[in-house]
């Protein structure tokens, strides 16, 4: 029994019940509909900023990009301008590919020992595909939700919805992103559960956001396609939040509050968790620096002088042997008295 994943599952179930039941209590709608979402958004913004600022306060003393291709040296050798950037433009391209297409994960291989003594490497695209599907779907879903916060709904959102619902199945029309999100998050969960090495390293804090996002997607899909929650009421509600004229609509149903509560928990949890990789990826010194440290001096703000073993100390110790071996020396031994200072003590 994997205790880490049980903890997380139980936590999400408790959160579900908390919202579902809580909203029925007097004042519950205000608590779950107004107070908690506001607090969550503020926690997210303050927390996220705090973390990023915290990282930024630690300097990058050395230029340590991980170079993943040919350096720029001679004009007759083709350099890998994105995988081993030497310019800011190259770094931007590298970061873009990393953030938008998960370039590094795309390289992923699976290493296996075959026939007892042969190592083989196979392109392992599923983690990359699953992760990309998950993040893109989540982003699309999030973006689509802007329609609840904007009046009139901008054209780009309408186009996105058209694209997202291009399959034109059912009424209301099926949005692909929601389905992909749920499928991808389930895949990522099953992977954690069934790949022995990944299960071994997984913590409750890895399962929890997965269950939470599963819950968000699931409740969202339930509301849209099955419970057919009152969309107009919700829009009134969300517009109330945006315009800071809070208004709790009648009868939008417990499911909506669960959905909203899950989102609130996710937002509040975000800055304290590994989800901060969203901010962190921009700050990773092995990716966001150009490999130009031989061309341009990188500065270390806390650099301090250190004690070194100087040539003089070295020669003082070995002078005799050096002279014997006919190696040039700076100072000769006694015979020719030095002009300036006295001869320092000879060490053995």
């Amino acid at each position: 029994m994997n205790i880490n994943y049980m903890y997380s599952l139980i936590a999400v179930i408790v959160l579900f019940l908390l919202a579902y039941v809580g909203v029925m209590l007097p004042g519950g709608e205000y608590l779950f509909g107004l107070f908690i979402p506001f607090a969550a958004v503020i926690t997210f913004i303050v927390g996220f900023t705090y973390r990023v600022v915290g990282w930024a306060r630690s300097p990058v003393p050395f230029c340590i990009p991980t170079t993943c291709g040919q350096q720029k040296s001679f004009p007759w050798i083709k350099s890998a301008n994105f995988d081993n950037p030497s310019t800011t433009g190259g770094v931007i391209a590298r970061m873009f590919l990393e953030i938008v297409f998960f370039r590094s994960l795309f390289r992923n291989t699976k290493c296996e020992l075959k026939e007892g003594d042969k190592l083989s490497y196979e392109w392992e695209k599923w983690l990359w595909a699953g992760a990309l599907a998950f993040h893109w779907a989540f982003f699309t879903v999030l973006f689509r939700h802007l329609r609840f916060f904007l009046e009139p709904v901008p054209a780009c959102l309408q186009i996105l919805e058209k694209l997202d619902g291009f399959l034109q199945i059912g009424l209301p029309g099926l949005m692909l992103s929601g389905v992909v999100l749920l499928a991808a998050v389930t895949f990522l969960f099953l992977r954690r559960l069934f790949v022995p090495q990944v299960r071994y390293i997984s913590l409750a804090s890895d399962y929890f956001p997965l269950f939470l996002i599963m819950g968000i997607a699931f409740t969202g899909i339930l509301m849209r396609y099955f419970a057919k929650t009152d969309i107009v009421g919700i829009k009134e509600f969300t517009m109330g939040l945006v315009t800071l004229k809070p208004h709790i609509p009648e009868g939008v149903g417990g499911l909506f509050y669960v959905h909203l509560f899950f989102v609130s928990v996710l937002l509040a949890y975000f800055p304290f968790s590994k989800l901060m990789h969203l901010g962190g990826i921009f700050m990773s010194p092995t990716r966001n620096l150009a490999n130009n440290s031989r061309v341009k001096r990188h500065l270390n703000p806390w650099d301090y002088p250190v004690e070194t073993h100087t040539y003089q100390q070295y020669e003082d110790e070995f002078r005799e042997k050096m002279i014997e071996a006919e190696l040039p020396v700076e100072k000769m031994i006694e015979a020719e008295p030095p002009e300036e200072t006295e001869e320092p003590e000879e060490k053995e």
Partner: protein
């Protein structure tokens, strides 16, 4: 290697699955054959590092200072404030596991704590407990909760586990290539070892070389006269082989260029043959083009064992390069074939010990090429230098002398992933050898595998670890050996030249190891040389001895 399991045993010993107990509940068992010996107190003392003492990792009591925990915690805090890399890498790992089977030590051992992610978690768990709000809050709920979020207290067992596994990482950065956030285990290991050094927990294969470098200028502790002796010895050998007497100059003021190479090249086979290769190249250039270069006994080490100790020690050892260049009044520095030496030069040197404003932007006096990529650091890699010479047709080469070799090329971790020096050495090899075969794509260039002995792990007592670590590299060599008959593994790293022969002997005994400039030396036609019947190893050149016989007739 009597205690080391044979290759078949080693392969069957690879654990197929993680153990049933969670990693926090599986204390590290420090094994002979895997762990390295503790540092010699004299070496620790010589470089002024704290808490020199006699201790052993196999003892229960490590003779730690009483307040070791405080020292580590304070040191950790300090480094979080100084290195953004550590701070970010402690926070953002999502444990996707992409790095897991990228580590040669994990592939070769199956020990889950050798998965880069878990190696980092060993430190992260303490970080969460001591430095994060969540760790403190959830941790206060109880031990079970603490564990479920991956937090734990720093205990003596944890400290020993750190030591054991931080000296099973060769800082090769292969995991960092695959990590979606670029988390670099090398950074974590570097920082972890720096913390361990605060309480005197180094290994001797790092501490003593570092002390030697500091005193004698090189990690083998070769004193100046002995260094010169070795050079004289090579000079004689070269004369025997080619009939030409080369005249390397040492510690000479006013030379145009200073040459610094790892001292392994001067002292241990097959590095010595690479050294002979450099000497012949410089002689050729001097004779033909008046090239003016000097070696130094003071800065007689390219490698930097301080890099495996602490950033400060790295800086102290590295300082000799610029200092010597300044003292001798050269224009720029040429660097020999070495791996981590070049990571330090490319990514650290100018920052630590620059600006080198007393040097000039390196220009090849022979081709006129300006080495723009070394504009500020003013230090050029010898394969860059040689590739440029060959490109401009400045060398007289007879690649057929290497025809009995079928050569493959092992990219060093540091020059690949900390620099991107991929094509230059290949260009040189292909110009001096007619038979060149690449190993499979997943084992070369930025995806290259470590020799298993990098970052100071090239000791004798950890042979089982080293043979585990070299498995992926050896396996790829075996593949091209069986497919193409490859019999020579070339490389541009002194640790490789020291470690790969042992590993080849164990896994693929038919394959030998060479530096790139040994191949160059063999192909290079020196002005006034006699007919070559031997290679730089004084072995008969197949085909050539017959010709001589015919000539004699």
């Amino acid at each position: 290697m009597s205690d080391v399991p044979n290759p078949e045993e080693l392969l069957t010993n690879i654990a197929p699955k993680p153990p049933a107990t969670g990693w926090m509940d599986t204390p590290a068992e420090i094994k002979k054959g895997i762990a390295c010996y503790a540092s010699n107190p004299k070496s620790v003392e010589y470089v002024g590092l704290p808490y020199p003492r006699q201790w052993s990792c196999f003892d229960e009591d490590w003779q730690l200072p009483e307040n070791w925990k405080e020292i580590i915690t304070e040191g950790f805090r300090e480094r979080l404030d100084r290195f953004r890399s550590i701070k970010v890498f402690m926070d953002i790992c999502v444990r996707c596991g992409a790095c897991a089977d990228k580590c040669h030590f994990f592939i070769g051992s199956g020990d889950p704590k050798n998965m880069p992610v878990l190696r980092a978690e060993l430190l992260r768990s303490v970080y969460r407990n001591d430095f994060t709000a969540v760790g403190r809050i959830i941790g206060s709920l109880g031990k079970k909760f603490k564990k479920s979020i991956g937090a734990r207290e720093l205990t003596l067992d944890v400290l020993k586990e750190w030591w054991y596994y931080l000296f099973q990482c060769s800082e090769c950065r292969r995991c960092s290539v695959f990590c979606p956030y670029g988390i670099d285990t090398a950074e974590i290991t570097i920082m972890g070892r720096e913390l361990l050094n605060l309480i005197g927990l180094n290994i001797d294969w790092i501490a003593t070389p570092a002390a030697n470098c500091y005193r004698t200028g090189n990690h083998l502790g070769i004193q100046p006269h002995a260094y010169k002796d070795m050079m004289d010895f090579f000079t004689d050998d070269i004369e025997d082989i080619t009939g030409v007497r080369v005249e390397p100059s040492m510690n000479r003021k006013g030379a145009e260029v200073l040459f610094i190479t790892p001292s392994g090249d001067v002292f241990a086979d097959p590095g010595t043959f690479t050294c002979a290769g450099y000497m012949m190249l410089f002689h050729f250039l001097q004779e033909k083009y008046g090239f003016d270069i000097t070696w130094s006994t003071y800065a007689s080490e390219g490698g930097n064992f301080g890099f495996f100790t602490s950033h400060e020690t790295m800086k102290r050892l590295n300082a000799k390069m610029f200092a010597e260049a300044k003292r001798l009044g050269v224009k720029w520095i040429l660097g020999g074939e070495c791996g981590h030496m070049w990571r330090v030069i490319n990514q650290y040197m100018d920052t630590m010990n620059g600006p080198a404003d007393f040097l000039e932007v390196p220009v090849s006096p022979i081709t006129g090429t300006v080495f723009e990529n070394a504009r500020s650091t003013k230090m050029v890699h010898i394969t860059e230098f040689t590739a440029d010479l060959i490109k401009h047709n400045k060398l007289d080469l007879d690649p057929s002398r290497n025809d009995h070799l079928k050569v493959t090329y092992h990219d060093s971790c540091n020059t690949s992933r900390g620099m991107g020096l991929l094509e230059e050495p290949r260009y040189v090899i292909k110009s001096v050898c007619n038979n060149f075969y690449e190993m499979p794509a997943n084992t070369i260039r930025e995806q290259t595998f470590c020799c298993g002995s990098g970052s100071g792990l090239n000791a004798g007592e950890n042979m089982e670890l080293r043979m585990q670590g070299i498995l992926p590299r050896a396996n790829a060599v075996k593949y091209v050996h069986e497919k193409h008959g490859v019999n020579m593994l070339s490389c541009i790293c002194a640790i490789d030249r020291a470690a790969l022969p042992t590993g080849m002997e164990y896994w693929v005994p038919e394959v030998d190891v060479t530096g790139v400039h040994e191949l160059v030396g063999n192909a290079l036609i020196l002005p006034g040389e006699g007919k070559r019947t031997m290679n730089l190893r004084s072995e008969d050149l197949p085909g050539m001895e017959d010709m001589e016989d015919e000539d004699a007739e």
